[in-house]
């Protein structure tokens, strides 16, 4: 991961820096479970709209997309540090801007597979130390100028600038240099082999920018271009006439910032916005009961773990860690914290990674075993721990409360200490003995690099197992997928048995929109509103 980009001044404290690091999707095939859940959700939506009594309006969802109109999007979060820089994406709003203003070479599609965008194809050499990228024909920036291999080279150099590394620099730690072979061909040379470079490129903070890029007057190759921007308040985008792919349906997109979920929902209910990203899962029924509204419920790989530091008492004893993991009733967590909108976890991250170990036995609450382990560890009468929590993501504080309640059964008294996010990510971040965290969808290798090695920037559990790190290194250089997955699985076993994370589940991404908004699809990246791909959205005819 190298030097993370947090040295830039600006983002909302260090929590923004953390979020930036977390929001990196990595390839995984679409799980069967998710497909099933997705179609169920779609089905129920259809039933709802079919059954609902004559409403104020009807929308013909099957009609061909309508051109024109302005989509008003409500976003939570945002501050005066909001950015329109292609390569500095801190919060959700920054991602939304980057995704729509700029175009990457490859991206993660709805099913979390690699999809080619500006690149037509890419391939590694035999040992994975040089990758060759081929661009599409006739690419243009939003100002009408041509997009060539030189621009791609500039983009690589800008992102990995050692003086000022950008958000995605940590994923390109092995980047050595990029060479424009011709107008449409670029060679990327790496310092060590990387079999999964395509994952590092499929990031929204990897949009290609022109050589004379000026973040103050941003020019990109995305479906929209910037019309106006007020940090922390609003952003207006308009259609990019030079977009290489199918032209977007919408004339304009307004991104409006709300600092409070409540306000966000009220804005939606009072039709001040057309769609909102990331609503609290508890509100799904509220919104579904409103015949004007529809809910987009996407399964993702986002996780909200409890973090136990494996190097301090009482968590330095693996029996205590196991007891804590067995104290959690995962189904109940999903029910109470996520209102059922999620999938249980098995103390393992990266569910979309092809290597995800589905055959590990599913852990569940086992009071007797947990008590036995605690007793063995020297706590026959249970123990009292302090759990530090903060509203770092919706559901986190709630999860702490539910856990405190469940842990009682095992004889663990959890004292909840709620702090504000700045304090949480302040001087003591990574020092909390027992706390919480959240991460978006990503694959196992980059995830582990971020949080589970001695060099990892966010090693919340103080996990510094050398054998584990060696396994990661070997796997990263292994081009053969089967052998790579075998190596990964060994690493996973270490984490599963002895790790400091309690990963109780993966939360769905739930968005809501007015039913006349069409073209939003379920998306597994963890980013709201179909991964912010507004190029596919149109406003249906209301009759």
């Amino acid at each position: 991961m190298g030097d993370p980009a947090s040295s830039r001044t600006g983002p909302i404290g260090s929590d923004r820096a953390v979020r930036r690091e977390h929001g990196l999707p990595v390839a995984v095939e679409l799980s069967r479970r998710r497909l099933l859940g997705g179609s169920l959700a779609l089905g129920s939506l259809g039933v709802l709209s079919a059954c609902s009594a004559p409403t104020a309006f009807e929308v013909d969802a099957d009609a061909p997309p309508v051109q024109g109109g302005t989509l008003r999007v409500g976003l939570s979060g945002g501050s005066s540090a909001d950015s329109i820089d292609a390569h500095i994406t801190v919060n959700s709003g920054d991602s939304a801007r980057a995704i729509n203003l700029y175009e990457p070479l490859v991206e993660r599609d709805d099913e979390y597979k690699i999809a080619y965008r500006l690149a037509e194809s890419m391939e590694p050499n035999d040992d994975g130390s040089v990758w060759t990228l081929y661009l599409r024909e006739n690419l243009k920036f939003s100002d009408g100028s041509d997009l060539t291999a030189d621009d791609v080279v500039f983009t690589f150099e800008r992102v990995t600038d050692p003086e000022d590394p950008k958000t995605n620099a940590s994923n390109l730690a092995t980047f050595d240099r990029a060479v424009a072979v011709d107008d449409r061909t670029v060679e990327v040379h790496l310092t060590s082999p990387n079999a999964v470079l395509d994952d590092a490129l499929a990031q929204y903070s990897m949009g290609v920018v022109p050589r004379d890029y000026d973040p103050e007057n941003p020019v990109g190759a995305g479906p929209f271009k910037l019309k106006s921007f007020t940090a922390g308040v609003s952003t207006v985008l308009e259609r990019n006439p030079h977009y290489w792919d199918t032209a977007p349906h919408l004339d304009q997109v307004e991104l409006l910032n709300f600092n409070d979920t409540d306000a966000l929902i009220n804005a939606l209910l009072s039709s001040q916005v057309d769609c909102v990203g990331q609503i609290p899962v508890a509100l799904v029924e509220v919104l579904e009961s409103d015949e004007r509204m529809a809910v987009l419920n996407s399964a993702t790989g986002m996780w909200l773990p409890f973090t136990m530091r494996v190097d301090v008492k009482p968590f330095d004893d693996v029996r205590v860690r196991r007891a804590f993991r067995l104290a959690v009733d995962r189904e109940q967590m999903i029910d109470q914290v996520l209102s059922g909108h999620g999938r249980p976890g098995n103390d393992m991250f990266s569910p979309y990674d092809p290597s995800y170990p589905r055959d590990f036995p599913q852990r569940d609450q086992d009071v007797a075993e947990a008590k036995r382990l605690l007793s063995e560890a020297g706590y026959p009468d249970g123990l009292t721990v302090e759990l530090v929590t903060a509203p770092i993501q919706s559901g986190v504080v709630e999860a702490a409360q539910v856990f405190a309640q469940q842990a009682k059964d095992v004889g663990i008294t959890v004292e909840i200490r709620r702090v504000d996010t700045t304090t949480f990510f302040g001087d003591q971040y990574l020092q909390w003995d027992f706390a919480q965290s959240f991460w978006y969808t990503r694959n196992f290798l980059p995830q582990a690099r971020n949080c589970a090695t001695a060099e990892a920037p966010f090693n919340e559990t103080a996990w510094t197992d050398q054998e584990f790190t060696d396994l990661l290194d070997t796997a990263q250089a292994e081009l053969d997928e089967t052998r790579r997955n075998d190596l990964i699985r060994k690493a996973q076993q270490r984490l599963y048995d002895d790790g400091g994370y309690i990963i109780w589940g993966f939360a769905n991404q739930v968005d809501a929109y007015q039913r006349y908004v069409l073209g939003l699809r379920e998306n597994s990246t963890g980013l709201p509103l179909s991964g912010y791909t507004f190029r596919r959205v149109w406003l249906g005819e209301v009759s």
Binding site: D3, P4, S6, S7, T9, G10, P11, I12, G13, S14, A17, R72, S79, S80, A81, K227, S228, T230, V233, S234, T235, V236, E254, L256, F258, N259, D260, D262, A263, N266, A267, L269, S270, Q272, V273, P391, D420, T421, T422, T423, F425, G426, D427, Y429, L430, P457
Partner: protein, 316 residues
């Protein structure tokens, strides 16, 4: 009179200075390093040191206070720990938005409160007066968020969906350019303030109507209308102006909850956000600004009181 006003002005200045000391002292009590809070976990020592120097964190508390105070005078409120940008820029538009809200609320509350108060005082003991008394007692008891939630439920989300429940400022527009979204916050604030004005107006007016000179005016044969307008009302102005001032000053604090409830992009909202993120510089700035408004409004009220009283006015 000028002397009196000057004296009052000096007192206000003194109070504001004292307030600034209190507010500044709050920072000193805080654990943690603002520079690190701004730069984040991964900041290098060099950058931290540079920022500390820039923020005068390496100076003594007294020096820091004086530098901070000096900054206030030129509109430099320090650096926000959450955004890393200047606090003044963060707040400048919000001050206007909050003022608009307060002024709207005052513009409704003052005439309505005064009118109902007078009406009630002139109809003392009647059923209508009692109705007024009971409603003011009830309304005055309710915390502002209770009133706000009831209004939102009634007019925005559940019963009638006629008014926006939250405030938005679409690109290029200021909040007040969309008057409909000012209605509910204004109404909430006004409803909180009105009962106090009514009660004070009623009590003062009732007292004045019982006074010797009002009786004398009646016994002189002065028509009732003139008794009220010429003899009674000018007397009620002084005390009521004080109460109105206190209430308007209260608005400076009351906007906090109301702005939070309606997500109105004002100072109060900024304050709550800053508290949630522990952004001390912003909390300091907003506290100072609100306190200044508070002190200023009280000063104006006292000056009005002095001007309304010929005894004080003619005092040399």
């Amino acid at each position: 009179m000028v002397k009196l006003i000057l004296k009052r002005l000096l007192v206000s200045v003194f109070i504001l200075l004292a307030v600034s000391v209190v507010v500044f002292a709050a920072t000193l009590l805080l654990p943690g390093d603002p520079a690190r809070a701004i730069l984040g976990q991964q900041a290098t020592e060099e950058r931290l040191a540079a920022l500390r120097t820039e923020m005068h964190l390496d100076r003594s508390p007294v020096e820091r206070y004086l530098l901070w105070l000096g900054g206030l005078f030129v509109g430099n409120f320090g650096t926000s720990t959450t955004t890393g940008g200047p606090v003044a820029g963060l707040l400048s538009e919000r001050i206007g938005a909050s003022l608009i809200l307060m002024l709207c609320a005052a513009a409704i509350a003052v005439p309505v409160g005064v009118a109902i108060g007078i009406y009630s005082a002139l109809h003392r003991g009647t059923r209508r007066d009692q109705a007024v008394t009971w409603s003011t007692l009830t309304l005055a008891a309710l915390p502002e968020f209770v009133i706000g939630i009831v209004l939102v439920t009634l007019f925005a989300t559940s019963v009638f969906r006629v008014l926006p429940a939250v405030t938005m400022s679409p690109p290029g527009q200021q909040v007040w350019e969309i008057p409909s979204q000012l209605i509910l916050p204004t109404l909430t604030l006004a409803l909180v303030v009105i009962p106090y004005i009514i009660r004070m107006m009623r009590a003062t007016m009732a007292e004045v109507m019982d006074s010797g000179f009002v009786e004398m005016a009646r016994l002189k044969g002065v028509p009732e209308r003139q008794v009220i307008l010429r003899h009674a009302f000018p007397h009620a102005i002084g005390p009521v102006a004080q109460v109105i001032a206190i209430q308007l000053a209260w608005l400076a604090g009351g906007v906090v909850v109301v702005e939070y409830l309606f997500r109105y992009p004002g100072l109060g909202q900024a304050l709550i956000d800053a508290v949630a993120f522990r952004d001390v510089q912003v909390v300091q700035a907003v506290s100072i600004i609100i306190a200044a408004v508070y002190v200023l409004v009280n000063l104006v009220a006292d000056v009005v009181g002095i001007l309304a009283n010929p005894k004080l006015r003619s005092a040399s």
